[in-house]
Amino acid sequence: MVELWFAILCLMLVMFAVLGGWDFGAGALHFIAARNQDERRMLIAAIGPLWTWNEVWLVAGGGVLFVAFPRVLAISFPAYYLALFLVLWTLILRGIALEVRGLIDSGLWRAFWDTAFAAANILLAILFGAAIGNVVRGMPLQADVPLSLPLFTNFGVRGPLGILDWYTVSVAVFTLVCLCAHGASYLALKAEGEVYRRAKALTKWLWPIAVVLLLVVSAETFYVRPELFTRMADRPLAWIALLLTAGGTAAILTGPRAGAEARTFWGGCVFITGLLGSAAASLFPVILYSTVSGQYSITAYNGSSDASSLRAASYWWPVAFALSFVYFWFVGKHYRGRAQTSQYGHDPQ
């Protein structure tokens, strides 16, 4: 039961990384892939009417963490208090920018919200990356000492830890590049005209850079947490995830050159899924790793809700999960194909 809920939590986060990821990545490229206001309108139309649906994976993932692993929530959220509010406020700014940009037909209005939107996406991609970095690196957890992490200390991964150090910053940079590449793949599939051409060109550069950065980050991870790699050997799920990563890598390196937009796009989705999957498979069962001593780590077993609470949740969760795709299908079928800025009813967003 606990293993199932660990898997569900990972699934929610993978869905957010893949689906929300292309929105954040495309948004981070707002000024690079789209050079004038008409093109930016096209970019936002490509992110389209389902950006909130994509972002719900994050919010619902928070709900899953709450019901299944309340101790993890209760320790990590206060520990990262100010960083989390930075995320929340930036999410607010991003949502507002996306929704109100198209409401007023004025160049100054749009320029302002375009800038806010792009900046918010870049910052959020970095913050999500730093969050992954913190989970992998661990935090100085001890028994009965409330944890609170400073933003940064001496940028080292040993000794007094901060949220940002050379390792978490590297993961953040990799995440930003990876999401930008993913966003560019999405735009190459959904956009038209100049945005489409630029996005296609960007995938040729960004994916190889992402792969190189992944090698760097993997080497760094081996230095920070070597046992994660040795552990993979006897975990078949980790092999599958690694195979997915390898397959995705092949697709994102060959797809852009061959002009195969769909191959690049799906390759990117598989690449991200495989990476997060292999991280989860090697981290399991630890969710919050203690850098002080293994006995203080919060695992899926000692951090979960009672079995009866988990059982109740496993009755309704699959129903809700399946239903969410029904709505997606109902709306998504109307927005198939490439985005067109003229086909919106009220104001072309």
Partner: protein, 445 residues
Amino acid sequence: MTDDAAFWHRIQFAFTIVYHYLFPQLTMGLAWFLVAWKWLHLRTGDPRYGDAARLWTRIFGINFAVGVVTGIPMEFQFGTNWSSFSKYAGGVIGQSLAMEGMFSFFFESAFIGAMVWGEKRLGPRNHFLATLGVALGSWLSGYFILVTNAFMQAPSGYAFAADGSLRLASLSDFLLNRWALIEFCHNQCAAIVTGAFAIAALGAFYVLRGDNGSQGRLFLKWGAAVGLVASAIVAFPTGDAQAKMVARLQPQALAAMEGRFQSGPIAEITLIGQPDVQKRQLDNPIRVPGMLSFLAFGTFHSDVPGLGAFPEDTWPTNIELLYYGFHVMAGLGTLFILLMALANLQQIRGRLESSRRLLWILMLAFPFPFIANTAGWVTAELGRQPWLVYGLFRTRDGYSAAVSSGDTLFTLIGFAGLYFVVGLLYVFLVGREVLHGASPGLEHA
């Protein structure tokens, strides 16, 4: 110092939830007007309904967006600011909060974009379905939140786990908590009152201004008719049932709501007065004898306990605010019924559009349902004190010990600043739509 920390955590949650709920109450109230207008437009083809739905959908879209972005921090604050509570009750209240995300947010978020931007793409039938989807999703979302609140007010369906925290014992007892069902009826009708008053206000504005008259008349008619029915249901039977439930399950809260310190039969209801907690009395009261006994327990002779009957450490912590919150809510609710009855009377006599004074009142009345809803929630949440989960877990034990009061104050000020800007933006954008009015057809702007 620890009390100080708890205080700032409470203020931050109170501020962010009160601000957030200004938007969903209008969303939930407007949603069914939109469904009705879309349906009538689909069936009759009458363009007035299509235009009305289109104008209010634009306002709805802005309102919904602000509701979404101010709602995300609410869920996360359980973890950041109330981690001890989350650890204690997460296995239970996490259910309804996760269900809200899984069932309602996916539902609403899939349809909201299509509803606001996709009238042309979806075609009339599917656009109606998208509107219906958003309405259902927003009400479902409201239900899950009220289930969460109902568990804090009158816990049901739980048991204790080995480590002393709460675990879920019965999903159906938890989801079909009697408190949740009654609170849902009461609260959702109150949301419809907010929507009806907003619609009537815009109708009055258009009629008074003298242009856009056909839209104005439609809004006045619908706003007044629905507003009267909904205001009446908020008072009876839903408000009445809510009061009887509070009398039975939270007798201290009822005593504090009425500023009642002494117990006894033929309990009087207080219309006006000021509680003086120091002296254990109500200053300058105007009362109706026996009414409280009747409203709370059904007979004029029922014994209604005062606060003196309970140990002081189970008294609500802010009796004055609780008293005023309840009286503001109940007083405004009564005035809403009177105002809407008068509006409907004039409507039936065919004189509503020429009663300029009444139109002015209707136009300026729309903020008051927001105030009444807020005051009602202040009553519910202060009445629950000093408990976070009634009878089980105290509020002062629930906050995050790892977060300093300075950090909480910082984020509170941050929210105040950010929400001020968001509020300005909202007023500006909705104001534009209102002044712009309903543009006929699909092809405008």
